[in-house]
Amino acid sequence: MEMKEMKLLSEWSYEPAKIQRGYANETLYVGLGNKDGNYKFEKRPVSEDMKENFTGGRGFGLKLLWDAVKEGTKWDDPENELVIAGGPFCGITQYPGTGKSYTVFLSPATKQTYNSNAGGYFGPFLKFSGFDALEVQGKADRPVVVFIDGDNFKVQIFESTLEDNNAYYISEELHDYFAKDEQDKRTISVISTGMAAKTSYIVGLNFSFYDVRRKAVRLKQAGRGGGGTVLCDKNIAAIVVKRTKFTGIENDPVDVETIMKAGASLHKRIHDHDNEQCQMRAAGTAHLTEIMDDYELLPVHNYKYGSHKDIGNISSHEYIKLFSQGTADGCWYGCSLACAKAVDHFPLQTGPWKGKEVVVDGPEYETAAGLGSNVGIFDPHWTIEANFYADHYGLDTISLGTTMAWVCECYELGLINKENTHGLEMTFGNKKDLMELIHRIANAADDFAVATGWGIEAAREYYSKNYGADLEVMKKIGMVCQGLEASEYRCQESMAQWGGYFLTLKGPQHDEAWLIFMDMVNKQLPTYEDKAEALYFFPCFRLWFSLHGLCKLPWNDIEPVDNSIKYKGIEAARVPEHLNNYLNIYTAITGKPLDRDGMILQSEKVYNFERIFNLRMGKGTSKFHEAPDRGLGPVWEDEWMARPDYFDTKLKEFGEEIEGKSVKEKITLLQKHRRAQWEQLKAAVYKRRGWNKNGIPTLKTVKRLGIDYPEVVALLEKHLKPEDEFEEE
């Protein structure tokens, strides 16, 4: 350990809450003052109404943030908060995927709320320390470390003596600082970001845990939305939690036997069948690369193409060779899906730690594609190094990959040049210069690097004003919506996935709906109503996990062997046996019954509340749900000519004659027809969700959901217009 002893600035002792049936029933508020050293600590009660309408996790985060901010609050005002919460399942050890927590905040990138999920130990340890959520508000007057000591029931604020402000350094040092000895390091979790947070908006949070076999810290990410930028803005170097003792019934379940049986049986299923299903234990989510390539869904060259001849270099076989096998890689106790793969003893070739051998967390699929095929690089070693530095600097690998892919296309189209980029040749596949750009963004090396680090929406404004780059062209090819870059799937050919990306609450992050196969391949959603139903149901279904501290991977990245024989169609996609596990475990924890309708209701309340919160922040209406041209189909001739028969057929399906038309004309026609479909999809989805034509939840909907608080109704009455109502049927 290198860091010097830290000076204690403020300290607060508390009576720890006793966890009852999955809840501590208290939350922790830490106020940092407004650069004046005015630290404040409070325990706040969790009301029955809060549990009824918000359940936990992301729901608690949204509720507490709503109370903390006002309509005009900006992400860099002291009133903005980082709220971290797990949920009723969070911290159980017997069932896979129960260590997750959500971080909710006003986002620098999206200018509305964002909620970002991370795996790992922080959520459970926070709860065992006595808190269902942590709110941090204000700005410290110097870099601080916030320490939640769940062993001695104290919260302490230290003046940071950390000399390097990047994640692996911070996490290793703080695990060392707060642990009694090597054995004790696993009782700690550290939230940190990296130096990119000073100027970039595409910066997330790292959540650490200690790997007892590797004797090293591992990092999971709440990567998206700029949570790291907010952490840095608050002058927080790190948030640390420590909790040593906990039992198999720490979460105080009514019926631990049900949980134990469900857990043991799923462990056995994973042991027996993971290898022939998704190979999560061997390859993690990187098992997806060649599958996406086979179905033209792999993003290649800024989503222009869906496959590439060099896919073999970045296939799951290649990554399995690079990931260390056979070690316990779960991100919380009890996860036998163990998808948190790592590359060991990786020698860094560039940057401040050049020559050092490190543990690299990942890559996950998103990173393998985003910092890979999307930027035209098919070299896993390059991707692994990019992954490492992205995590270390705090950069979100998805936004970074998608932004850099867009930059490459802008450069190759001549919209920006080598002078603008300060000497970097931003061509697809240029490994050296793309890696250099990552370092320059982190270091805020020049105006181009800083602007690029803001993400696509802000960068294109800068490029347009300062380099004369054509803004309309940059908008057509930028895979971004609501200020958030799209994640790494090509949605062009699946209308349902246009909705899965561009009709979401927080932006094109795939955690709401991932419908590509169901729609495009299985053809299970033929009508607008079918698509709308799926875009109502699956976002609600997936949101449920975020209320409870659950990872969704053990739900459907492993299936009972007879799942698709026993169940037909979309019912099979729900993996009913695992869905029932969650309902049963919910009851086993809380003592309350829950069926599928109840599950959807818990989610639908929070889904609509989040939509209304975004309306409150000046967003949350139809005009922000816009799809870029690249998201709906080809923009340039080379994209059409990569699959000419396929696209000709698609155009003919609209009744168009293709004889005698140039490729450029055909592209324009296809875009026109698809945009008309997009408008119809949007209307069908809004209607199904109980929103008006402007995408605003109706009074009828909020009353039905029991979230018709006076503030909510007042806000809606301001924005709901009679001409935007759908006709009653």
């Binding site: 050890t93 017997q94 696993r186 007892v212 076999r213 906990f246 039992t247 198999g248 019934i249 631990v256 036997e257 134990m260 857990g263 043991a264 049986s265 799923l266 462990h267 056995k268 299923r269 994973i270 042991h271 056979g326 070690t327 316990a328 779960g330 106790y333 009890g334 036998s336």
Partner: protein, 132 residues
């Protein structure tokens, strides 16, 4: 290392071994609490008990499973988080659990009490050569 040797053809399914084990380790005469399980297959009994293979050791996220000085795989309760992954991953399904008594799983530790109780010599605790 001492490991239970099984002579299945001598087993008469009297249940004395399960009785002796559960009484010794859980103070209750209950086959569900035994670390050796005799299952009745149609034409023969199946004796399910840990053979100290150690496949579970690398599965445990806290290294709570380790060989003691005699080579026997032990569950260290002070490190165990009750995740039960070892239960699902045991090649012979010989790691057991019972919610009524504790959340940590349990297994045979080659104490030999069942072998002493067995009336037919179907169980014997023998010293095997240490495997590398």
């Amino acid at each position: 290392m001492k490991v239970l040797q099984l002579r299945t053809e001598k087993c008469v399914q009297c249940g004395e071994c399960m009785s002796a084990c559960s009484k010794a380790w859980f103070k209750e005469d209950n086959p569900a609490l035994s670390r050796i399980k005799i299952e009745n297959k149609a034409t023969y009994p199946n004796i399910n008990v840990c053979n100290q293979c150690g496949a579970c050791i690398e599965i445990c996220p806290t290294k709570a499973l380790e060989r003691d000085a005699n080579g026997i795989v032990q569950v260290r309760k002070d490190k165990c988080t009750s995740c039960l992954m070892c239960v699902g991953f045991c090649p012979s399904a010989s790691m057991f659990f019972n919610a009524a008594k504790q959340t940590e799983p349990f297994k045979c530790i080659s104490c030999g009490i069942c072998a002493k109780a067995c009336p037919t010599g179907a169980l014997e605790l023998l010293t095997t050569p240490e495997s590398k």
